[in-house]
């Protein structure tokens, strides 16, 4: 249903780091689940419009008005790594 290599690819896409054992287990479990999901193949969905929203509303807007922003200290309060002004992360530009 799904190969170990695919699982490893998806893990990168999902930004998860799996141990070899986890990857193995994930391959088996997702394989079983996907196999069950192939049940949907027996449903004829020709000419059926997808339904993405349970309630089909349209045109919900807010007016273009400025409301107060968070105090910076509040905004940054939950950040795992920060300085006075900004969030900090390992370099976004490639190499370490």
């Amino acid at each position: 249903m799904i190969s170990l290599a695919e699982i490893e690819k998806v893990a990168v896409l999902a930004r998860l780091l799996l141990t070899p054992a986890e990857s193995q287990q994930m391959t088996e479990q997702l394989g079983k689940i996907l196999e069950y999901m192939s049940l949907l193949n027996e449903v004829n969905t020709e000419n059926v419009e997808p339904l993405a929203h349970a309630v089909e509303l349209t045109n919900v807007f807010r007016e273009d008005r400025v409301t107060p922003s968070l105090d910076r200290e509040m905004a940054l309060a939950n950040a795992p790594h920060r300085d006075e002004e900004c969030y900090r992360v390992p370099a976004v530009l490639g190499e370490v």
Partner: protein, 520 residues
């Protein structure tokens, strides 16, 4: 009569009449928590001092004759995936263990405006992903009726605290059955409103097109009381329905005339345990005795609901949970250790001369993300993220995600057709009563299949309620499921109330309460 015998509506009556004080109600609630929660584990946090202070304030205001909110003085428990300003909101995840929202969810603001007293935050499956509350990374909740069994989930704490009479009212969330299923397994009443009836603003998203906040309580009458406060249009939620909220707490007591009740053959067949089957059939007879017409309806695509649901829910979840990356809030992996590990991997690859693998090696940033998420999320959350990422990825989108959206429409159309014939559809909430803790934790598919009667409601965006309707031979509660067309919460509540007027399943108390009460 002990305070824990009283329903929320009765407590409210006594509070209004000045026969009891809010501080007494809160003190009782906290006593119950002290006594039973060490065993049950419903709460992740209890807000003792604040609850008392609030109760005193309400009593003061009442004595001054001020106008008070609809829930003034009633203790309410809130599922810990609903944001509370200045108080941790963890989603029972390591990822958000220390997250303190700088804002209140709309439902919290409404509860506060109604002078409800939020006594604490209840346990759940991590990010509401699970049906047993076992995937919580922060605590174990068990079923008050039998502590070796699951309370259900994901709102396991929310249901268990009502069952153990710790609070009269509890707020949960339901994405695929997460209110109704634990309500059924814990012997309480739980309602999942129409999608869009209650604002989702501040509910930590699992699957945005399916999530809905709703009430849990002992009775339908109490659910009506709480729903009336929770529901209503919210400009902060674009999917919120701009419709007025009926006065549920007033209309709930009006019996329904000419009620037409539908049942579905597949829901009363294979895979449903004999005790559940018997209880449901008995419940249908109760409705008949109340003058309802009962007839069979068809939901031909119901058997595809679980597959459809898990594709859509996991796809949305994979995107909703992308924000937990260790940058702006929440958990982050130990950066020094992570960098050292990466350097070591690089050294080894260089030594082995594997230039291609070296090229593919994560950057520090990517590795920070991956390690943070690997450590911050539990197994079930990771499984769903993987599943959803796969279902949305290039080459699989049409086969899984798009296909599921199409089947979703067929499921919705089935309901539309059925509701041309009947007002409500009844059936079981779960195929069996609560199973043992640990029983299905290593078999995700079995766990998913346990949701087969509840997920269709969410896919179609319908309201549904679970009410106690019997017990298994080993004394575990069984829930009756009533589903109705969009915005027909009132019908559900009135039908459920009619049922509860002539049955007493909802009044039964877990033996634990009496046993321990005797012991103390």
């Amino acid at each position: 009569m002990s305070l824990s015998e009283l329903t929320a509506s009765q407590l409210l009556q006594q509070l209004r009449e000045g026969r009891i004080k809010a501080v007494e109600v809160v003190a009782h609630s906290l006593r119950q928590i002290d006594q039973y929660d060490p065993t049950v584990g419903a709460f992740l946090r209890v807000n003792r001092d604040h609850a008392f202070a609030q109760a005193e304030e309400i009593d003061r205001r009442r004595s001054r004759g001020e106008k008070l909110g609809k829930l003034a003085g009633l203790p309410v428990a809130v599922k810990d995936n609903i944001c509370t300003q200045g108080e941790p909101t963890t989603c029972a995840s390591r990822m958000l263990k220390r997250f303190v929202p700088p804002y209140d969810a709309t439902v919290i603001a409404r509860l506060k405006a109604a002078d409800a007293i939020i006594v604490g935050k209840t346990n759940l499956d991590e990010f509401a992903m699970g049906g047993s509350t076992e995937t919580s990374a922060l605590g174990r909740t068990c079923n008050p009726w039998d502590v070796t069994r699951i309370p259900g989930g994901s709102s396991g704490g929310a249901a268990a605290c009502v069952a153990a009479r710790m609070v009269p009212l509890s707020v949960g969330s339901d994405t695929g059955g997460s209110i109704r299923q634990p309500a059924a397994l814990c012997g309480v009443t739980g309602l999942k409103p129409t999608y869009g009836r209650v604002s989702r603003f501040g509910l930590v998203a699992f699957a945005s097109s399916l999530d809905q906040i709703g009430p849990l309580a002992q009775t339908a009458e109490d659910c009506a009381l709480l729903l009336e406060v929770l529901a209503g249009h919210d400009p902060k939620d674009a999917t919120s329905i701009p419709q007025p909220v009926p006065p549920f707490s007033e209309t709930v007591r009006q019996p329904l005339e000419g009620l037409r009740v539908g049942w579905v053959r597949e829901h009363l067949g294979e895979g449903v345990s004999p005790s559940v089957l018997a209880a449901i059939q008995e419940a249908i007879k109760v409705f008949q005795s109340l003058g309802a017409k009962v007839e069979e309806v068809e939901l031909p695509h119901a058997r595809y609901a679980v597959a459809t649901y898990y594709i859509i829910a996991c796809s949305e979840a994979s995107s909703n949970l992308a924000r937990y990356d260790g940058v702006h809030y929440g958990y982050r992996t130990d950066e020094k250790a992570m960098l050292a590990e990466l350097a070591e991997e690089r050294r080894v690859l260089q030594q082995q001369g594997k230039s291609e693998a070296l090229e593919d090696l994560d950057t520090a940033l990517v590795r920070m993300y991956r390690k943070t998420r690997a450590e911050g999320f539990g197994a079930e959350v990771k499984r769903r993220i993987m599943l959803g990422t796969y279902a949305l990825s290039a080459g699989y989108y049409d086969a899984y995600y798009l296909k599921a959206l199409k089947v979703r429409r067929l499921i919705r159309q089935d309901y539309d057709k059925a509701f041309q014939k009947v007002h409500v559809i009844v059936g079981p909430v779960t195929p069996t009563p609560a199973f043992a803790l640990g029983e299905k934790i290593n078999d995700p598919l079995a766990m998913y299949l346990f949701d087969l009667f509840t997920v269709g409601t969410n896919l179609a965006g319908l309201p549904a309620i679970s009410i106690p309707c019997g017990f298994s031979e080993d004394g575990m509660p069984i829930g009756l499921h009533l589903q109705a067309p969009p915005l027909e919460e009132e019908t559900l509540l009135r039908a459920a109330h009619m049922f509860q007027q002539v049955t007493d399943w909802h009044r039964r108390r877990p033996p634990l309460l009496d046993r321990q009460a005797v012991a103390t």
